[in-house]
Every structure is written in C-alpha cells, then in structure tokens.
C-alpha cells in the first residue's frame, strides 16, 4: 500500500486531474465487464500496462508486483468454477467444457478489471478521490475524518518505525520473551503518544484558526480536453478492436 502511495504522488501524471484518470480507468472497467471477455480483456490488460508503464512512468516491476497478488488469488480460485457438483446419484464432481469457458472468461474479466484499478492506484493518491465523495453526498464530517486519518496514518507509521528501530538497537527482539515484552511496550507507547499528539494537534490547529471545520482548497487542476479526448479515443479503439476480433474469431 505504501509503495503504491509513493508512486501515486510522484508519477509523471500526478498533476493530472483525477477525473481524467478516473475516466480512463472507469471506462476500461466498464468495457472489461460488458464486452466479450476472451478478445477484449487481453487488449485492456495490454493497454493498461502500456499506459501505466510508458505513460505515467511506473516501473514495470512495480506494476507486475501489484498485479501479482490479486492475479495469484484469481488464477488459483477461478478454475473451480469449471467444476460443478452433481447430487443426482450421490455426490459427483463434474467437469464441463462450458464450465471451463465460463471460468476462463471470468478470469480474464477480473484480470482486466484489476489492471484498471492498478493503474488508478499507482497514478492517483487515494486522498485525491476523497473530495469526489463530498460531491456525491457523503457528510462533510466523514470526509474530514478520512482526510485527517490519511495524514495521521503516516505520522503513526513513522512513530511505530522509529520506536521499533530503537527497540531493535537495544536487543529488544532477541528471543521470544523480549519480543513479546517489546511489542507490548511499543503498542502502549504508541497509544499514549497518539493521545498526546491529538492534544497537541488541537493546539496547533486552533492556532491556525480552527473552529470545528477542516476546510481546505485543493490545488487548482484544470481538466485537459486533449487528454480527455485521448482517453475517449482509447476507449472507443479498445471497444472496436475487441468487438471486431470477437466477430472474426466466431
């Protein structure tokens, strides 16, 4: 999660309006779910790979690593869809060719969908998507808590990491007994520090005029017509290619 967050903030497209990236990822996702899978899905995966790696400049290894986990899960579980249970004469496990076809297309669709989400995760900080929530009617208080949590997670992780290192430096994790004791101490100290931090943060924010509402302005980003047009073009192209291929194969 942390690596993808890092890339999300620094990739070549990090300044692009989130809606542009959302359009591309969301559009491809719709295509992946609706169009014939065997032909369209591989095209989508290829296109998303190229956009993420060559477009946004994410290392191919990172893309592969992020794809690997859900893919592994899908590849090991989806084949079971090809099997069905037959109870007519006792219990029988039946393997059917139609089942195999269904399983294959589910697998491809899912992989294509994952590639769209991977693109979005690697190019757009999650937090940039939160203001969109406010627009669809999520209460401001909930959105504020999400924004604040996002920041505090990192402060917390930093504290946890330094505390952990300090314990390692003093042999805190040598042997089971020390390990358990150290972990317990770390957790209690983190809890105390979090309380202390929230108290001080309240002072810090009050000094900045905080009166109960965390209002902020996002950096101004304009939607580029050219990029929206290219995204739309790409979506149309993929859809056309998928359908034509499907027609020729049949």
């Amino acid at each position: 999660m942390l690596t993808s967050d890092g890339f999300a903030w620094t990739n070549r497209w990090h300044r692009h309006h989130p809606a542009e990236k959302g359009l591309l990822a969301g559009g491809m996702l719709v295509l992946a779910v609706t169009l014939p899978a065997p032909t369209t899905a591989p095209i989508i995966i290829a296109v998303m790979f190229v956009t993420t790696v060559l477009g946004a400049g994410i290392p191919a290894v990172t893309w592969l690593r992020l794809m690997a986990l859900p893919s592994g899960f899908l590849i090991t579980s989806v084949p079971f869809l090809a099997l069905s249970l037959n109870f007519s004469s006792g219990l029988q496990v039946v393997f059917s060719p139609q089942g195999l076809e269904v399983a294959l297309s589910v697998l491809l669709r899912s992989l294509a969908a994952v590639s769209c989400l991977t693109f979005l995760t690697l190019t757009t900080p999650t937090i940039d998507l939160v203001p969109l929530l406010r627009r669809v009617g999520v209460p401001p208080a909930v959105v504020e808590i999400m924004l604040l949590t996002y920041r505090l997670v990192f402060v917390f992780l930093e504290r946890a990491a330094t505390g952990h290192q300090a314990q390692i430096a003093r042999q805190g994790y040598v042997g089971l007994r020390n390990t358990l004791r150290s972990l317990g101490l770390l957790v209690t100290s983190l809890f105390q520090r979090s309380l202390e931090r929230s108290r001080r943060m309240e002072i810090g924010l009050t000094a900045r005029g905080f009166q109960g509402e965390l209002r902020v302005l996002a950096p101004k980003r304009s939607i580029s017509r050219a990029r929206v047009a290219s995204a739309a073009g790409l979506l149309l192209g993929v859809a056309a290619a998928g359908l034509v291929l499907d027609a020729t194969v049949r």
């Binding site: 967050d5 903030w9 300044r15 990192f154 001080r200 005029g209 905080f210 009166q211 302005l217 950096p219």
Partner: protein, 283 residues
C-alpha cells in the same frame, strides 16, 4: 515612540500535577521589534508562547493586547489568533492535510477569505519560503526542514501582525537556519513583529533587537540584546553562556580598553574587523 502590541503582566501558570511552569512573569512585545525569548530547556518558554495566543489561560495576572486585557470568550480568541500567529516547534502538530497546497489553504479559509484571495495568499506564502516547487507534494513525503517551512508558510498565509515561532531553528541544518533567518528578515522589513524562543545565545545575539532572558518560569530581565548578553551574572543565573562573538570581543577589550567605547560587534564580520585592527593596527 514605540507602541506595545502584546504584553504579559505578572502571569502565573501551573500545569495539572502541580508543575509550576510560570511565575510572576512580565514581558512586553513592541510593534515591529524582533524579540528573542532566551532560556534553557524546560524553563517554560513554550508555556509562555501558548499564553500569548490564548491557548493557555494564566491562573493569575493577565495578557494585554493593544493595552487591553484579553478576554477568553470564543470571539476574542478567534480575533487574537488572526493577529498573533504561533508556529509550534514540532511541524507535525500543525500539518494535518495530505498535501502541501491544501494544508497552507487552511488558515486563510478559516479567516473567511474568498477562494481567489486564498489562492493568492497560498502562492505568496509558498514563494516567501521558497517552496513553490513543493506545492503538490504529499505532506508525509517531506523532510523535517521542509515540513517546518510548510508549517511557517501555513501561518504566513494568514498574514499575522505578530509572528511567534517556538524554537524555529531546532532540528535544522546550518543551511536551513540561514534560509529561515532570511525569510524572517524579509518579514521584518515588511513590518511584521517577530518573536521566537531559543536556547541558542549566538543566534539570539546576532538576530534579535531585544532579548527576554528566561529562567525557571520567569523573565529575569528584558532589554537590548547586547546589554542582556554582556551581563555575566544574569547569564549565569539563567544557566546560559555568553555568545562567542561577545566573549572574543571582551578578550580584545582587555588589551585595548579604548575600543569598548565603539560598542560590541554585532556580527561575525564586525568581529573580524575588530580582530584585523588588533593584529594589523599600530600599538
């Protein structure tokens, strides 16, 4: 004629648990001045600064703004904090937003500024701290020095009349310190009153107009910087040492008593000049 912007009159403060942090403390901040609050660790500097923006309320004595006692109702406090900006020592206590630009926008929006005015304040504040290139950066990906600048920018964007910084140079490298001092220099030239706390006598000596020497929860003495730091007795009581420049100058005065009349050197260059005269000049 100087006019007093903010003052503390005989304030006392005790933390829960009977830690008596401030005792009978007096302090005056004049308009347009650069004041250093100089004291050892744990002497109560932070506690005092928290009184100056109304975060803490003295158990005795009072805070005066424009000569009138501060009242502690919500409205007065909000008004006070729009004029008196406090930058805490730890930037993580003041930064709450995911990216730099959003974070700096917080203060101006709280002042009720329009979106357009807020955006121009943000641009100006980022420019003043020379961090315009960080505007889209994630807060958690900044170095300590960068976070500190962002925290200061967040306060500058509110354009306070009095800017108070708690140990602003703590944790900065020499380059970071120089950078900060040049930012403060420009602010001072545009008329902002500046107050900062430190335990660094050399810094206080070269930077401040006035120094309030702080020890054990009270201001021992407040006055012109060179006079405060030349007072060995005072420094000893406050567990501070004399600035290096002054120390060397005093040694020189022993050999050339007549030079003491010129007045103490205020900068490294002035000291070097004095040294050249001693070494190269006629006996």
């Amino acid at each position: 004629m100087t006019s007093i912007a903010l003052a503390a009159n005989g304030i006392d403060y005790t933390y829960p648990g009977e830690v008596r942090a401030l005792k009978q403390l007096d302090l005056t901040i004049e308009k347009g001045q650069r004041l250093a609050i100089l004291g050892a660790n744990g002497s109560g500097k932070t506690t005092l600064l928290l009184h100056l923006n109304g975060t803490l309320r003295p158990s005795a004595g009072r805070i005066l703004i424009d000569g009138r006692p501060l009242s502690y109702d919500r409205r007065s406090l909000v008004a006070l904090r729009s004029r008196v900006g406090l930058v805490l020592q730890e930037p993580d206590d003041q930064l709450f937003s995911a990216n730099v630009y959003q974070d700096v926008s917080f203060g101006p929006l709280n002042l009720g500024l329009s979106e357009a005015a807020t955006r121009s304040r943000i641009d100006a504040a980022l420019e003043a701290l020379r961090i315009s290139h960080l505007r889209d950066r994630a807060t958690h990906m900044l170095s300590f020095g960068q976070k500190k600048r962002v925290a200061i920018a967040g306060m500058l964007a509110m354009q306070p009349e009095i800017l108070i910084l708690d140990e602003p140079t703590a944790g900065l490298d020499p380059h970071g310190v120089n950078h900060l001092l040049s930012v403060l220099h420009r602010l001072h030239e545009t008329g902002t009153t500046l107050v900062f706390s430190t335990h660094d006598v050399d810094l206080a000596y070269t930077w401040a107009d006035q120094i309030a020497v702080f020890a054990d929860g009270t201001v021992l003495k407040q006055g012109e910087a060179a006079a405060m730091l030349a007072d060995r007795e005072l420094l000893r009581t406050a567990r501070l040492k004399m600035p290096l420049i002054l120390e060397i100058a005093e040694a020189l005065y022993c050999r050339r008593p007549a030079w003491a009349a010129i007045g103490p050197p205020r900068s490294k260059d002035a000291l070097l000049h004095l040294l050249e005269q001693t070494i190269g000049g006629p006996q």
